[in-house]
Structure formats: C-alpha cells, structure tokens
Symmetry: C2
Subunit: 288 residues, 2 copies
C-alpha cells in the first residue's frame, strides 16, 4: 500500500473485553479501510456482562494525546464515544472547534447496553450546550434520544412515532446536522433506524432482530459512519453503508465469555451473506 | 461465526497513533484470527516520530481490568509489552502465576523504536527476577537482549555472533523457555531473527531489509506469536508464521503522518505477495 488510508480520530474509553470502546472503534475503523487514531478518555473495568468501574482520565491527558497526533497526521473524521467527565467534554469541544472542517460523529453513550450509567446529568447538559452545535451526525438509541432531548418517554418510541420525531427535531434544534435514532433497544420485531435532518425524516431502514444481545453495536455503527465520512461520502450514504456493515458484523458475532455477543468486525474474511436480503426500507408508524 | 475464536490477553500501553501498543496488539491479534482482550498499563503521548510522555496506570487498575475478563473469558495466551512501573510488573506476574498453564509472550520494550526510554533500570531488574521465569517466549531485539542479559554491546551482535549467543543463553538461564532475538535494529543488509531454546539456536531466518522505518513492528511480531500459541501451535511454528505475517504487514505498511511507517495488519485483503520469495533460512556468522 503506497497511498495511506483516511484517518479517523476517536475519543473513547477502553474496554478490556474489546467488545465496545476504544479498541472496538479501532477495529471497526480498520475494518472499514481507514486508519484509527485512538485517544483514550477513560479506563473501564468491565466484562461482557457489564461495566463495574470507570476511571476517567484527567482532561489534560486527553488533550495531549489528541494534539500530538493532530499535529502529525491529517484527520478526516472524528468519532466521540464515552468522554468521561464534564471537563473532558469541554476540552474535546475546544479541539473540535480548532478543526471546524472535519466531520464529527457523536455516539452519546449515556448508559452501557446493560443500563450502567456512563454519563452524568451535568455531562449531558454540557453535551447539549457545547457538543451538539459541533456535531455532524448524532447516533443515539431511542432512549438516549429522548433523554438528550428532554422528551418524556414511558413507552416504545417506535410504537409512538410522534415521540421519536419530537426528539429528533429538538436535537436538530440544538445544533447537530443529522440525527440517526437507532432501535436496537426497542421491542419491535425488526430493528428500525431513522435518519433525520432539516426537520424531516430522510430515510428509515429495518432489519430482522438478531437472536442475541450484543456488546458494542453502537460503537460499531458510529465508528463505521465516521470512517465512511472520512472517505468523503455524504452523510446519508455513510449511514447506509455503516448500517449494512454493522448488521453483518453482528450477524457474524460470537460469544467469547459468559455475557453478551461481540460483533465480528472482520466478517468479510469469513462470510458472504447478502445484506440486501436482510435490509429493506420501511414506513415507520405514524410517519407522515 | 458460531465457534468463538481463541482469546489473547495483552498488557500494553496505549499509543494514539495506533502504530504500536495496545491498539496495535488488538489489530494484530484480530488479523491473526483471535479475539483481543486489551488491558491498558499506561497512556502515552506520542506520534509517528516518537514518545513524548508516559502516564503509567496505578497497578490496582491494571489488576482490576485483567481479573474481570479472566473471570469471564477463557484466555489462551498472554502478551506483554510496555508495563509502566515496577509495581505493575509485580502485579502482572501475580496474575500470570495464577494461570500457570497459559503461554506468555514477553516483548521487553526497553526503549521505543526511536530510542525513547520506556523501562527503568529498576523495572529491568524486576523483569529479570520475576517475569522471565514465567515467560514462554521472550522477543527482544538484539540491543534489548544484551541489556536484559547484562552483556556488553559495543558492536552489531549479528557481526559478532558470540555476543548474541551469550545473551540468549544468559536469558534462558534466567528462566524463559524460548528467546527470539530480532535484528530489525541492526545494520545488516538483511533482517535476521534467531530462535534459541535448550542452549541451542533452533533456527534463524532472514528477510530483505525494507526501505522504511516502522512504528510497531515488535508489537506486531510478539502479538502474532501469542495469537498462534493461542490456537495451540508449537513455539517454533508460531514464530515462523508470525514472522511471515509481520514481514507482510510491514511490506504493506503506509506512512500516515510525518514520521515512521505503520504496519498494515490487514494486508490480506489487499496484497497477495508470496512470502516464500522473501524469506530464507540462514547460517548466521560464527554459528557452530
């Protein structure tokens, strides 16, 4: 290889199972043909069943890790996951504002897949006020979308489309350019993702719900979107390709321990399944 | 994939360029078909030109990260890189002693490829006294081998084979089962690696020296050996396969920034070069 691949810089916490977090981002970014620049925001103690402890790094160490590679390597997209502290969010926002032309994918990991709280109320307020205006694509699940948008959710948003729509439009109103709300955590027979921008739903896609629970599906999707943006693709095209990639990685996943399955981000070497048989566009309930 | 792959647990520092360290280990382990369990020992501030700062983690955080996944996921090989502190070396040795049946590959990263010191004199003494007796395969370059073995080196060890041999036998005498001394840092026209055990040189292999300097070649080689051990292969077979893999990853490498090249650990998707054309067994100077 003579021409180096596009570079994706991720801010994320480390997960010793590698199912989620910084290493999962690096594997996904590489699986999508880009080069990863992993900036560590926190150390976690977790296994495939859940997060036990989080050690956020001092924000100055996040700043130093990021600035040194930004001065060395041209970055083509940013991906943000667990950020660790309010001060870290402020520090990272300052870095992003110094590189205004680079797209930002923000996966707002408010809780782990098992419900462990990873982001405090103060951090959510800082994300809303500082980060969302600098976000190109926000990728909350439906629960995170309602929480970030301060929409009261006591039922499945995919059963009541008006809640989903209201969350998306409020989040766009806070300044992010695109919102992709994912339905992995819903109880619908199919997983439905919906992409919003400019006060409309640009597209919604559905896949059959896979039989297992997965550790790191959100990291995979958001890192894959960032990788496709880094190659110069549009946001809608990046989302479609990343969704297909993520579905395939989950379908090829495996269970290394006693808990959740982990996506196989290099399924391409092993499986040839045709995603077109699995994905189809959908009209979601109540969509006008 | 229904059957999960073998698992390799690595203790290593994070490198925000991903050329070396924990993320490089994870990419290599995955590239070799295994699942990575990355335990972070330190955060570094570095780019593709060198290491600027190291923040070692408190040993208790290393212990907690490792113990939780060891209780969840069956580990088939350990790989050790930069460990960060004397206390960390002690803590990690205790963990290894609790799992005496699992092979250990130790890459003694005494200095980075650019000469930055990553391991203090006290840490080297602790490695000699505690870690080497629990090491299956030690993978020093010729400079590190002499330093670990307290052999005085003022010339190329591959020009004076007796120095190389003396270092290897002293290191075996300290308790490790195999020593693979690498010649990447020498000035010989070919890179020569030599594998020692039971007071003999089992094999030595040579490749043409590639034109660039690489960031993370040692991490790639040692992680690939650990991955092959995790699949149940013998040490000599693991070394041969890992050497071929590393040579190909380096040959397919790219330069993401202003400094060194980075191995392409997923070259298989792109290149079909036949390693058999590049590698050949050698008689090293003075070998009896």
């Amino acid at each position: 290889m003579s021409q180096p691949p596009p570079n994706v810089l991720s801010f994320a916490a480390c997960d010793p199972s590698s199912g989620a977090g910084s290493h999962a981002d690096a594997l996904t970014i590489t699986g999508m043909g880009c080069h990863p620049l992993p900036i560590v925001t926190a150390i976690t103690v977790q296994d495939t069943s859940g997060v036990k402890e989080v050690l956020p790094l001092d924000a100055q160490w996040i700043d130093r890790q990021a600035r040194i590679v930004l001065n060395d390597v041209p970055v083509h997209a940013f991906k943000l996951g667990v950020l660790g502290s309010t001060k870290a969010i402020e520090t990272i926002t300052e870095i992003l504002l110094d590189y205004p032309e680079i797209p930002v994918v923000l996966d707002p990991v408010l809780a782990s897949g098992q419900g462990d709280v990873l982001t405090s109320t103060e951090m959510i307020e800082t994300i809303r006020a500082m980060l969302l205006p600098r976000t190109t694509v926000l990728t909350p699940n439906s629960i995170e979308a309602c929480r970030l948008a301060n929409v009261n959710k006591d039922q499945s948003t995919y059963s009541d489309y008006s809640l989903l729509e209201e969350s998306a439009y409020r989040l766009l109103g806070l300044g992010c350019q695109y919102v992709l709300i994912t339905g992995t955590h819903e109880d619908t027979p199919e997983v439905i993702n919906a992409l919003f921008a400019d006060n409309e739903c640009l597209r919604s896609d559905a896949w059959k719900r896979l039989p297992h629970h997965y550790h790191g599906s959100g990291c995979t999707l958001s890192s894959a979107i960032a990788a496709m943006l880094a190659t110069g693709k549009t946001v809608p095209d990046s989302v479609v390709i990343a969704q297909e990639y993520t579905w395939k990685a989950l379908a090829a996943g495996y269970q290394p321990g006693k808990g959740q399955y982990i996506p196989n981000r290099f399924f391409r070497n092993e499986e040839k399944e045709d995603i077109a048989q699995n994905m189809h566009g959908v009209q979601i309930a109540g969509k006008s």
